[in-house]
Amino acid sequence: MSILKGKKIVIIGDRDGIPGQAIEECVKTAGGEVVFSSTECFV
């Protein structure tokens, strides 16, 4: 069963890891609906 398809997706990216914008581009290709995307900074 698909994890992302047809789901509402909340993205918590990381400035030192994978940024929110990059995750957003990926999730869209899997059919997930991005409702929120952010990039956290732990400094």
Binding site: I3, A30, F42
Partner: protein, 108 residues
């Protein structure tokens, strides 16, 4: 996890229903990924934010976990994520995330 983001996650869970929401993380380390995952499943472990004591049990994954990677278009993943993936300790992240999901996720 950022207190403002905790508030938003809580609001989205109420608006769309926790079973329809999936959280995707991009944390750089297993420990940070695990803390964020715990926050959206079992509640804020630091007892600081709006999710303290709130057990949403959301589905939560890291973008580099194999289950997610296989659902994403390969060329987009390569372009957006693979460079950073090379410097992350994926095994550590996968271990942390799997353990949290097993213990606290209600919608697997």
């Amino acid at each position: 996890m950022d207190l403002e983001n905790q508030k938003r996650v809580k609001e989205f869970a109420e608006k769309y229903g926790a079973e329809n929401l999936v959280v995707i993380l991009g944390a750089a380390e297993g420990e940070a990924a695990g803390l964020a995952a715990e926050t959206v499943t079992n509640g804020d472990p630091t007892f600081a934010g709006p999710l303290t004591g709130v057990q949403l049990g959301l589905s939560v994954y890291h973008i580099c976990e194999p289950e997610i990677k296989e659902e994403v278009d390969e060329s987009v993943y390569d372009e957006q994520v693979s460079m950073m993936e090379m410097v992350l300790d994926i095994d550590d992240i996968v271990d942390e995330m799997s353990a949290i999901r097993e213990d606290y996720c209600k919608y697997l």
